[in-house]
């Protein structure tokens, strides 16, 4: 095996190896769509975020505009404080409503943003004041049963 052949094969090997890494980054991962894109942070407080996880998408009109960065419990108010990273280029009005939503019955939990009509925009570190918590199915069923029970005597 002479030197030129070895060089050639090592070159081919390294190139297809790097090609595989690029394929994994771009085609399998989401290097271009999120994470490293410049962005700014918004905060929102929810009574209940049931099932929301860091890295969950933040969507406006179904389009991913950012990701959830951090979820912590505020020890004073017992609210969940969610920090989101929104891609630069998407601006939201100050009266935007943030809600915790689920895609499909068993799908992933995400945050939906509904922009309002305010002329002022939220800046970096801003707080979304209007929020809607997650629907907890057990509570819904409990509510439904209670309603049925209280409605029953009228029949």
């Amino acid at each position: 095996m002479n030197r030129a052949t070895i060089d050639l094969w090592v070159g081919v090997f390294v190139l297809i190896g790097i090609g595989a890494l690029i394929f994994l980054s771009l085609r399998v991962g989401n290097l271009l769509t999120t994470s490293n894109a410049p962005g700014y942070r918004l905060e929102a407080r929810f009574d209940n975020v049931a099932g929301l996880k860091p890295r969950a998408p933040v969507k406006a009109a179904g389009v991913v505009v950012g990701r959830v960065e951090r979820i912590v419990l505020d020890p004073q108010t017992y609210e969940a404080s969610v920090t989101m990273r929104i891609d630069q280029g998407f601006q939201f009005t100050r009266d935007t409503i943030a809600s915790v939503l689920t895609s499909g019955l068993l799908g992933e939990v995400y945050i939906g943003l509904d922009a309002g009509g305010d002329s002022q925009m939220l800046a970096d570190g801003g707080r979304i004041a209007k929020t809607q918590s997650a629907l907890v199915i057990e509570k819904l069923i409990g509510q439904f049963m209670l309603d049925r029970a209280s409605a029953a005597p009228d029949k």
């Binding site: 190896g17 595989a20 085609r27 399998v28 991913v64």
Partner: protein
């Protein structure tokens, strides 16, 4: 005489512990020495390129074929379970995450240890058994720089590339089975995968794992070869030890790395 027997037993435990510690200390010093001699080896880069050829290029076939089959089997089995919950479209996520995070680095590492690590140990061990290493020292050629360091770095360079190729071929195999054979939607397969696989969390962490495994396998391989008893039997048992120790260390290190890397990730 039971007391004497107890003492003898305790002494044996002590001797074994000391022997293990001594070997570990020797391996650490050996590692430091190899790194120390590396610049000298890099001055003749051709040596390292040659080792990348033997460790990396010649391992390509086994890595590519295994990666493809692992991906295909994952897709078949994953589909079987996901189908029960009507979550067919998540097949891409399942396959990509398991390959990039775990199977790529770990299985490629195990294959690399058996394919290339064993060969490195046998080669260095045989060089030692036939006094080639001693002959080099007589000629004022440092075997650490001439023989050991190029093999060590060749392994470290090859391993991450092989792991990436393994994952890529695995995803390709899963795509063949999922989209072409079973008939899942092509867009959903890739789209869900891209939405769930994060560059920083999954791909970079998987890459770091494969680099760590590369260091582990290469170090164990050159150390066992260098430390082998210079007999036919010694070389054969050193080769076996390389494969066994590499496998165990990779799996243990994988657990530790996973605990640190994916602790907060809730996917």
């Amino acid at each position: 005489m039971p007391a004497e027997r107890v003492v003898r037993g305790v002494r044996k435990v002590g001797a074994t512990t000391l022997a293990i510690l001594q070997r570990l200390g020797f391996a650490t010093r050996f590692f430091a020495a190899v790194v120390w001699h590396s610049p000298q080896a890099f001055r003749r880069l051709q040596l390292t390129l040659r080792e990348i050829y033997f460790a990396g290029v010649l391992s390509l076939v086994i890595i590519l074929v295994s990666g493809m089959f692992v991906g295909m089997v994952l897709a078949l089995q994953g589909y079987d379970v996901l189908n029960r919950y009507g979550a067919n479209d998540s097949l891409g996520i399942l396959v990509a995450l398991s390959l990039v995070r775990e199977l790529g680095p770990v299985v490629a590492g195990l294959l690399f240890a058996s394919r290339a690590g064993s060969a490195i140990t046998a080669e260095i061990g045989l060089m030692k058994a036939t006094d080639q290493l001693a002959a080099m020292e007589m000629m004022a050629v440092d075997p650490l720089a001439r023989v050991v360091a190029p093999r060590f770095w060749g392994g470290i360079v090859s391993m991450p590339l092989l792991a990436a190729l393994f994952s890529t071929l695995g995803v390709f195999g899963a795509w063949l089975v999922g989209v072409k054979l079973i008939g899942l939607d092509n867009g959903a397969f890739w789209g869900n995968m891209q939405a769930a696989v994060d560059f920083r969390e999954d791909i970079v962490n998987g890459f770091i794992k494969s680099v760590v495994f590369g260091v582990i396998v290469s170090l164990i391989a050159v150390f066992e070869g260098y430390d082998a008893k210079p007999t036919a039997e010694g070389v054969s048992s050193a080769t076996t030890r390389t494969v066994v120790e590499s496998a165990l260390t990779i799996l243990a290190a994988d657990f530790v790395l996973t605990v640190f890397m994916f602790r907060g990730v809730g996917v």
